[in-house]
């Protein structure tokens, strides 16, 4: 047989200029930055977070304090957004509501991810019987009317059993328990596809444990879609809380929930529309901001958009 070609020996001590590290996340961030609407959404969310944080230590007036001025007073220099039917400063209450919105949104996204991601990973990775059981529960859960379950949970856990005080937490739990399936189903699909990839097989052949395969190899590669899905869960949770509170089934007064505030002002809509408008506009802007950001993230993580 012919001699093998001479091998050029590389200089092993050669130093090497490390180029800019391009990870999936930095790559996604680059594309996100080009998306104006997503950036605007991100900026609005940043403001929302800041307002929420500030409201912990300072609001112009205490959020619960009544009769700081005449009831139904329209916006003025002293009270930029006016006063509500109990004479409370609406700006202060909007700020306090921002904190609740952030808590509900982020809390729900985190908890439903904590439920959905492990279930999805297990179903997709082990397939077979594990998948059958988990997929069965996913499908059953889709069939259950979520609002009904949420109401029952709020009534049973808080009002009847007094397990959790009626507050943000019970809403988060109720929302997460009824909406974890989207994430679980998404992660299951990702996991099903990723487990067949060669690097997972290679890690298995190197003697990797199942848990290491799942969390080190499959999970990080599914992170993009998970982030997108979680981002879309936030506005849904926010709207859910506002909706429940509007019906008087969510957070109890005097909690400055935007939904409860809209409900309070509803009766005086024809002569003091600012009471309804302030929380509803705040809510709309927030929902829009999260949806813009979510759309932007989805595009940014989509490999087909890569240029």
């Amino acid at each position: 047989m012919a001699q093998a070609a001479p091998v050029i020996q590389p200089d092993l001590e050669l130093s090497y200029e490390v180029p800019e590290q391009v990870t999936l996340l930095t790559d996604a961030w680059r594309r996100l930055r080009r998306n104006r609407l997503a950036l605007l959404g991100g900026a609005i969310i940043a403001v929302l977070f800041m307002v929420a944080l500030i409201s912990i230590v300072w609001t112009p007036y205490p959020v619960w304090l009544q009769a700081v001025g005449p009831t139904y007073q329209p916006p003025s220099l002293h009270h930029l957004l006016g006063l509500d039917q109990a004479g409370r400063d609406i700006l202060s209450r909007i700020m306090g509501g921002a904190l609740i919105t952030v808590e509900v949104g982020i809390g729900s996204a985190v908890i439903l991810s904590l439920i959905g991601i492990p279930l999805g990973l297990l179903a997709g990775f082990y397939r077979g019987r594990v998948d059958t059981v988990i997929s069965f529960f996913i499908n059953i859960w889709y069939g259950i009317p979520d609002l009904l379950v949420a109401l029952i949970l709020v009534f049973v856990l808080s009002d009847a059993l007094h397990l959790i005080p009626r507050g943000v937490f019970v809403i988060i739990v109720a929302f997460s328990l009824t909406r974890w399936m989207d994430v679980a189903r998404l992660v299951r699909g990702q996991s099903l596809a990723l487990r067949e990839r060669e690097f997972v097989e290679a890690a298995r052949m190197a003697g990797g444990r199942d848990l290491a395969l799942i969390f080190r190899h499959i999970f990080p590669n599914a992170l993009g879609p998970i982030i997108v899905q979680a981002t879309f869960a936030i506005p849904a949770a926010v709207l859910f809380e506002a909706f429940l509170s509007f019906l008087g089934l969510g957070l109890p007064p005097p909690t400055p929930s935007w939904g409860a505030m809209a409900s309070d002002g509803y009766h005086g809509m024809d002569f003091a529309p600012h009471i309804v408008l302030a929380p509803t506009i705040a809510l709309s802007i927030t929902l829009m901001a999260f949806n813009w950001l979510g759309d932007g993230l989805r595009d940014a993580f989509d490999p087909r958009m890569r240029r």
């Binding site: 070609a5 490390v18 391009v22 298995r204 190197a206 003697g207 990797g208 080190r216």
Partner: protein
């Protein structure tokens, strides 16, 4: 490896991908397994790690590694065995590294899965390992992501992961097919050096005869899930006895025999594993067949010291093979 049989239960019936394979590999030996696609060579390798894809199953036989039988191991034993005693190098380094993890971390992880090295040791071994497989500027490169590596470098990183636990058997499944010709030579040299250094056996799965000739001590030729010929590389290349091996070798151009003879092609396709022909599995494509080939399957018999072939005819009994084959 004794009488290994791998079967797939498909909707169209049971398919036997590997049928009664029998061979052994000694320490430090480099054995080439050659054959067409679908001849069962990859399945043979995967069964050593007990990683036959569903719905395949090892239905009979034993795979002895030292004293232990791989087929009988518990799940935890087999996990500890993979990567520790036997490591595998893949065909396509492009897809075998996790795109979101740094290369150095992945090499470290290969060691972390086993108890041979402590956490500290594993961490300290990464750069020397990458240097050992000749990755330039390894100190800086450990923090790179796989997509910042070239194909050859990725294959080197895969090899570094493979040898990180100093396995005694290295299975290389077509390690060079996805690489440039120039890179192939250096990867081959690397595999040879490492196997010598670690005194590890190498099982090289390929259809590249030139690769086998330059690297292996011994060759196993597979066809339709069976070993059709086996022996030392020299004698197989000089005196192939099975018509399949003979035709394979004659189907390759050789630099040292310029235009002396026409290349020979093997007509037809390997048999459908679900509907095997009776008798010798190669007879429908064989130019040298006799009546017996169509009804009775020949055993694997010794034709020369150390060389075995599964054939009723044997090439040494054919007076003018070139003429017959060209017909």
């Amino acid at each position: 490896m004794q009488d290994l049989r791998v079967q797939f239960a498909t909707s169209g019936g049971t398919v036997t991908a590997v049928d009664g394979i029998d061979f052994d590999i000694d320490r430090g030996e480099i054995v080439g397994i050659v054959g067409e696609s679908g001849s069962g060579k990859t399945m043979t390798a995967l069964s050593v790690l007990r990683l036959i894809p569903e719905p395949g199953k090892i239905t009979s036989g034993r795979i002895l590694f030292g004293e232990k039988d791989v087929v009988q191991m518990t799940d935890e034993e087999i996990r500890e065995f993979r990567g520790n005693d036997v490591a595998m190098i893949f065909q396509d380094p492009m897809t075998s590294l996790n795109p979101v993890l740094r290369v150095g971390f992945q090499v470290e992880e290969a060691m972390a899965a086993h108890r041979r090295f402590s956490r500290r040791q594993s961490h300290d071994r990464v750069v020397p390992l990458l240097q050992r497989v000749r990755i330039p500027a390894a100190k800086d490169r450990v923090r790179d992501f796989p997509h910042q590596f070239s194909g050859g470098m990725r294959q080197r990183a895969m090899i570094a992961m493979g040898v990180s636990n100093e396995p005694s058997l290295l299975i290389a499944d077509e390690p060079t097919t996805a690489l440039d010709v120039t890179v192939q030579a250096s990867i081959i040299e690397l595999v040879r050096d490492l196997s010598r250094e670690l005194r590890a056996a190498v099982m090289l799965i390929t259809h590249n005869m030139a690769l086998v000739a330059s690297l292996c001590n011994r060759v196993i030729v597979m066809y339709a899930g069976r070993i059709v010929e086996e022996g030392p590389t020299r004698s197989i290349f000089k005196n192939p006895q099975h018509p399949y091996t003979w035709s394979l070798l004659r189907s390759m151009p050789r630099v040292d025999e310029v235009e002396k003879e026409r290349l020979i092609s093997i007509k037809g396709l390997p048999p459908d594993l679900g509907r095997m022909p009776p008798g010798c599995k190669f007879h429908p494509r064989c130019k040298f067949r006799i009546d017996r080939c169509m009804t009775e399957e020949p055993p694997l018999g010794e034709v020369d010291p150390g060389q075995m072939a599964r054939c009723w005819v044997l090439m040494k009994n054919v007076p003018n093979p070139e003429a017959v084959a060209q017909k």
